[in-house]
Subunit: 301 residues, 2 copies
Amino acid sequence: MELTILGCYAATPRTFTNPTSQVLEIKNRLFLIDCGEATQVQLRKNKIKFSKINHIFISHLHGDHVYGLIGLVSTFMLLNRTNDLHIYGPKGIKEMITLQLRLSNSWTSYGLYFHELESNESEIVFEDEKVIVKTIPLKHRIYTNGYLFREKIGEKKLNAEAMKHYQIQTCYFQNIKNGKDITLDDGTFIGNDKLTFEPIPPKSYAFCSDTVYNENMIDLIKDVDTLYHESTFLESEATLAGKTMHSTAKEAASIALKANVKQLILGHYSTRYENISLFKEEAETIFPNVLLADDGKTFEI
Amino acid sequence: MELTILGCYAATPRTFTNPTSQVLEIKNRLFLIDCGEATQVQLRKNKIKFSKINHIFISHLHGDHVYGLIGLVSTFMLLNRTNDLHIYGPKGIKEMITLQLRLSNSWTSYGLYFHELESNESEIVFEDEKVIVKTIPLKHRIYTNGYLFREKIGEKKLNAEAMKHYQIQTCYFQNIKNGKDITLDDGTFIGNDKLTFEPIPPKSYAFCSDTVYNENMIDLIKDVDTLYHESTFLESEATLAGKTMHSTAKEAASIALKANVKQLILGHYSTRYENISLFKEEAETIFPNVLLADDGKTFEI
């Protein structure tokens, strides 16, 4: 998994900071998460291949998370996209996009599918043979979901030397990768553990923005490799955080600790703070492994 | 009048080029014309005082002219704007903006007034004591208007020396500025031409984008000081220009010539051209006074 931060600042796009958007690459799939204004410019600046994005996950319908979506949908059209595009987001997102297309008297050259969400329980929104994506219900001023991305456990890897040694024919390879044992023509039994290596452990990434401090998410994100949790404010603005239903760096760290995640990435900083390293300092008083998101930064998960 | 080009490229925002938006300053009023995606970032980069924009004129509802409007309306709200904001544009623009505000469960802290247009005849859309703004019906793939901004003729300037010489009391000054003659107590008649100087000639600016070559606009823009006319293509792509209802540089120059304007500014270039100076070269074969718009450029009118 590789995560690229296109934007991670709250509220409004500015000269040097961008609103929320991220690209998560998992096994050659590109997932776009949130799409603030001018996300398409950030995609260009970060040299991300537009055409490989087939799934876009929107957390909520505040402008700094969604106002770039209509521009991206339109640009895909101008680029003569033909692949289907799937958009996952709160109920209303379809009307938001289709009204604007209708008013500009245009329609997409590609299949545009909306998957509107309204449940307050976690649900699977995407699944294929390698990846599964679930919602993480969050608590914010409007209906909001985070998203949990999990790789599936892959096939076992063939032990090439064992294949050669026992002269196993290729037609048995898939069964062996699926975990089957083998009995040779002379009756010798060979256990699967001698024929294969364990698959690479699957990785997981949880995106949680925007939300007030909310322990309900802990069970859902338990033990994930990487948690992105919003930290709009520092503890000095805790009252404001509560009032606007955002979190502080300390609260984000507390969730990370209780969920036993491997690493925490902070983001969605209010632009009132000139020095984002304060967020890391504050979070590290609670949880050791803290990273700071910043526009254009890439994280290996 | 001072015109600042925030963006003047067609179709999509890119790393180094921005979609259409301009700020026109007339006698201390700031008019925003069109509002492509990330116009608010361009306003910041060009250090334009957001709060002074009270009137926004949108030509048509294609994304590269309007997708930045909702972001700007929202940011005005975050900046605690209180002044009324007036938006002029095609019917549908109100629904486009209000739907998005409703979906984000927000409303503006200031008065937001929509002036929806649907006439195919030129009409006055704004007028105060110093400026008048009229629509210029254009021909494009969807309903589109250009806008004509005209200063009103100002008051005559008092001739300070004459005031002193004839010992004219200040209570008569306004009448004199309005063109009245004076008869002194001794019966001497003094014509207004001896008491005043002519006002500064009023300036005019016509914004015409997007449009196919259309001679119907010529009467409306006759003799203006500055015409901005789109030139999406060069003559080599004339067929494409016709098909997409855009103009070539040569066609823009032909309109400028026939309307006897003082200067022509070209813009709305397709990003297929790497060298925009070709637009100037082509237009100058028809009309002598051609300037090239570019993002961040300012023109005195």
